[in-house]
Amino acid sequence: MYPKDLKYDKEHEWVRVDGDVATLGITDYAQDQLGEVVYVDLPSVGDEIVGNETFGEIESVKSVSELYTPVSGEVIAVNDALSDSPEQVNEDPYGEGWMVKVRMGDQSDLAGLMTADDYEAFIAEEG
C-alpha cells in the first residue's frame, strides 16, 4: 500500500527521489478518499513550483482537491497521459498515476518528509 522506497507528506503526496529529481504523486489513501478521479490539472514543463504550495488540482466526480508539493524546483516532466486517463491515479497511484517530475534546487525539504511506516501511522491517527 505504501512503498518503502518513497517519502510521504501530510497532504498525502508521495515523493520518489532519484538524485536531484523528485517524482510526485498522491498516495493510495488519498486516491481512495477522493474517489474516482476525472480531471487532473498540472503545471507545465519549465514551471517553477514552490514547497508547501499548490502545484495543481485534482477532481473526482464529487469533489475538488488542491495538490501540494513538498519540494521546490523546476518541473522537467508532466504526466500528460492523465488528461486522457485520469483514472490511472486511482488504479496505479505510485506508477502510471505519477504527476510531475521536479529538478530540486535545494533538497533540504526532503528532511521533513515521512517514511512509509511513519505515514501509515499518521493516517491511522488521522483516521
Binding site: 503526496e13 478518499q33 476525472v38 466526480v61 464529487k62 469533489s63 475538488v64 482537491s65 488542491e66 501540494y68
Partner: protein
C-alpha cells in the same frame, strides 16, 4: 491534498444525524457515508462512475428512505391539494376505472410564489394521496400541510412508517417482474405488488432518466425488499453520488440548490408543472403569474463545458462580467465532460449562448444547453 467539502453535505439540522433502516446494510457493503439533509446516507459503494454506469446500462437500487412521505385523505383531499400544489391534480385520476391512479410531479409554493418544495403526488387510493418530498424540507412541508389543509381533510406524516427505495435502469422492470411484482404498464402509473412477500406500492417514476420504479414499503420490511433486489446480479447498490450525476445529466432540479423559496417556477423553468388556469387557482399563483407576465429577470439554464468541471457556487460570466451562479455542476460520466445548471439573466438564456464559468483561477468556456444533456436513455 486539501479536500473541499461535498456540495449538498451537512446535516441541515445542526444536530445528530438520522439513519435509515438500511444503515447497517450500507456499512456492510462498504459504503462511504456522508451527511445529507439530516441523514447519514451512502455517498458511494463501488464508485460513483461504476454505479452511474450500472443504472444507465443495467439497474441500480437507491435507498431513498430519508425522503418524507405524507398521506392526505378524506372527501376534501382533492380540492385542498389542488389549492396547495401547482400541477393539475385532476390529471392524476384514472379514467373510467377504479384501479389505482397515477403519480405526478408538482410544486408547492408559498404565498410569494417561492418554491417550498418539489413533490411527487401519488393517487394511492380512493380519496387518498401519498406525497413524497425532499428530506431537507420535511419539517417545512409538514408544517405547511398541517396549517393549510382544512380541518375536514385528514393529514398524516408517514415518514416514520413508510420507506422508499428506487430501482432504476433498463433492466429494472424485468427484475420487478421476476420478483413477482406486477409492473405498471406506463410511466407515472402506480401498481401494487408483493416483493419478498411484502405488499408494496410501485410507481413507475424516478430521478435518473432511466426506466424503473420507486417502491413504497413499510419501514419494518424495507431491509428484506432491498436485499431481495440486491440478490439479482444485475442490480448494483447506488449512492447519493450517482443519484446526483444521473439526475444532473437529465437536468432534473434539486431543491435547495437549483431552486428554493427565493425562486419562482418560471425562473426555474418549471412552468410545465404549473397549471395556471386550473379551477380555483393555487397558493402562490398571483405572485408567480406576475413573474410570467412581465418575464423573469433570470432563468435556470443548462451549461456544457469542454474543459473543466463546474461546481455549485461558481460565478458565470458573459464577456468577462459576472452575470450568474452555478447551482449544480458535475463531471458527466456518460458524456465525459463538465455539465451544470446555473441562473443567468434571461437575455443570456437561449441555447447556444457562449458564457464562461470561473473555475477557481481559470475561466472555462461554457455553452448554454437545453437539458437533458444525455438524450438517449431507456425512457
Amino acid at each position: 491534498m486539501d479536500q473541499a467539502s461535498f456540495p449538498g453535505a451537512g446535516d441541515g439540522r445542526g444536530g445528530v444525524l438520522a439513519r435509515t433502516p438500511l444503515y447497517e446494510g450500507h456499512l456492510a457493503l462498504g459504503a462511504k457515508m456522508v451527511a445529507f439533509a439530516g441523514y447519514e446516507m451512502p455517498l458511494e459503494y463501488s464508485g460513483i462512475l461504476r454505479e452511474h454506469r450500472a443504472v444507465r446500462e443495467s439497474a441500480g437500487v437507491f435507498d431513498i428512505a430519508h425522503m418524507s412521505t405524507f398521506r392526505v385523505f378524506g372527501f376534501g383531499a382533492f380540492d385542498a391539494l389542488q389549492r396547495l400544489l401547482t400541477n393539475d391534480l385532476g390529471k392524476l385520476h384514472a379514467e373510467e376505472t377504479h384501479e389505482l391512479g397515477r403519480a405526478q410531479y408538482t410544486l408547492m409554493l408559498d404565498d410569494q410564489g417561492g418554491i417550498l418544495d418539489d413533490l411527487i403526488v401519488y393517487h394511492s387510493g380512493d380519496l387518498e394521496y401519498l406525497i413524497v418530498g425532499n428530506a431537507a424540507n420535511h419539517m417545512i412541508d409538514a408544517a405547511w400541510f398541517a396549517e393549510r389543509l382544512p380541518d375536514e381533510v385528514e393529514f398524516a406524516d408517514e415518514s416514520d412508517r413508510a420507506a422508499l427505495l428506487a430501482l432504476q435502469g433498463p433492466r429494472a422492470i424485468e427484475i420487478i417482474g421476476e420478483l413477482g411484482g406486477s409492473v405498471p404498464d406506463e410511466r407515472f402509473k402506480l401498481g401494487e405488488a408483493s416483493l419478498d412477500k411484502t405488499p408494496v406500492l410501485l410507481a413507475r417514476t424516478g430521478y435518473t432518466g432511466e426506466d424503473g420504479v420507486e417502491i413504497v414499503c413499510p419501514v419494518s420490511r424495507v431491509v428484506g425488499v432491498w436485499r431481495a433486489l440486491l440478490s439479482f446480479p444485475e442490480v448494483t447498490p447506488c449512492g447519493l453520488g450517482a443519484r446526483d450525476t444521473l439526475r444532473l445529466e437529465m437536468g432534473y432540479h434539486l431543491h435547495g440548490q437549483d431552486m428554493d423559496r427565493d425562486t419562482d417556477p418560471v425562473s426555474a423553468g418549471l412552468e410545465w408543472v404549473v397549471a395556471w388556469d386550473k379551477p380555483g387557482g393555487f397558493v402562490g399563483r398571483e405572485a408567480a403569474i406576475a413573474v410570467r407576465d412581465r418575464g423573469p429577470e433570470r432563468r435556470l439554464v443548462g451549461l456544457t463545458l469542454d474543459q473543466g468541471i463546474p461546481r455549485q457556487g461558481q460565478a458565470v460570466l458573459h464577456d468577462g462580467k459576472e452575470v450568474g451562479t452555478v447551482t449544480s455542476g458535475t463531471f458527466s460520466p456518460t458524456l465525459r465532460h463538465g455539465i451544470g445548471l446555473a441562473y443567468v439573466p434571461a437575455a443570456f438564456a437561449q441555447p447556444g449562448m457562449q458564457l464562461e464559468v470561473a473555475i477557481r483561477s481559470k475561466l472555462a468556456a461554457a455553452v448554454v444547453t437545453r437539458p437533458p444533456f444525455v438524450k438517449s436513455t431507456s425512457l
